[in-house]
């Protein structure tokens, strides 16, 4: 899969790879594993599809991360 094909599929199908045929989803993952440009396209498509971008994560999620990094100190 080329970057251009990936961009076209993202635009047509959206970034939820669950909705992609298995072969295309695997090819997309292989491309993203090898290409930061593909990762950036995927992130941009995901951000565009986020509803209510102002909503924060679950507080427990935040606390869990902070607890983990606190143990690194």
């Amino acid at each position: 899969m080329t970057l251009a094909e990936f961009a076209r599929l993202l635009e047509g199908r959206g970034p939820d790879l669950r909705g992609w045929p298995d072969g295309d989803a695997r090819a997309a993952l292989d491309l993203m594993a090898a290409s930061e440009a593909a990762q950036d396209l995927f992130a941009a498509a995901t951000a565009a599809g986020l509803e209510n971008g102002g909503a924060g994560p679950d507080p427990a999620f935040v606390e869990a991360i902070l607890a983990r990094i606190a143990t690194d100190e």
Binding site: T2, R18, A27, L29, T46, G56, P57, F61, V62, L66
Partner: protein
């Protein structure tokens, strides 16, 4: 008026000011020991990281785990970030890579598909065994082939896996591996040769087995 340098932000502004600060300022403050600044980054981008991972993993709990791991990894590798790089670009790449790694870790060992079964057929004896014998032989050869593939160099194994298990063609593999089609053909050729050699050794090792796999007449790939 110009923005205060990030290190000063960590110590001189209140929480409300921090919430209005840019990502790069907050992360720079985090690197200087301001855990509150990092908390704001987690609150600001946590949902996006979970969604990124969820789009790949199809599992809410795993997506949350990956998002956590991405933030922790960003924290642990905070000195690797350069202010000239956009913070979210860097952070999202960490999350995507972790989601792909998680996806591949949980992905079951590929089972022999029709292509591999045909390759396995090439190694079983040409005389007509019973169906049960043939099936047992194919299983043996397929197991041997998987074991042999695991011992191949990474690039050969990846090329063969993409070709046989993921049904990609040479051009697609070249794109995925960021290399030329000529290199992919060479990798596939060397990989097949190595597999043939290892399968031949496996057959030799099976010689005492009454179901030992014997070489067949030459068969070539198209």
């Amino acid at each position: 008026m110009t923005a205060s340098p990030a290190p000063a932000l960590a110590t001189t502004v209140d929480l409300a000011s921090k919430r209005a600060a840019r990502d790069d300022q907050l992360f720079e403050a985090s690197r200087n020991g301001d855990s509150q600044a990092f908390r704001i980054l987690v609150e600001r981008h946590g949902q996006m990281l979970q969604r990124l991972a969820w789009n790949i993993l199809r599992d809410e709990q795993e997506a949350e785990d990956v998002a956590q791991e991405a933030f922790v990894s960003a924290w642990r590798n905070r000195d690797a970030w350069r202010p000239e790089a956009k913070f979210t670009t860097w952070l999202y790449r960490i999350a995507v890579n972790k989601a792909i790694d998680r996806y591949r870790q949980r992905r079951p060992t590929p089972q022999p598909d029709d292509t591999l079964t045909r390759l396995a057929d090439a190694a079983v004896r040409p005389e007509q065994p019973t169906e049960q014998e043939a099936a047992a032989e194919r299983r043996d050869v397929s197991n041997s082939m998987r074991a042999a593939m695991e011992r191949l160099p990474e690039t050969q194994r990846r090329a063969l896996t993409l070709f046989y298990f993921d049904d990609l063609d040479v051009a697609e593999i070249a794109q995925a591996m960021v290399t030329s089609e000529q290199s992919v053909r060479a990798l596939l050729k060397r990989g097949r040769m190595a597999l043939r050699t290892r399968l031949a050794r496996s057959r030799t090792a099976c010689a005492d087995d009454p179901r030992g796999i014997r070489p067949t007449a030459g068969r070539t790939r198209p």
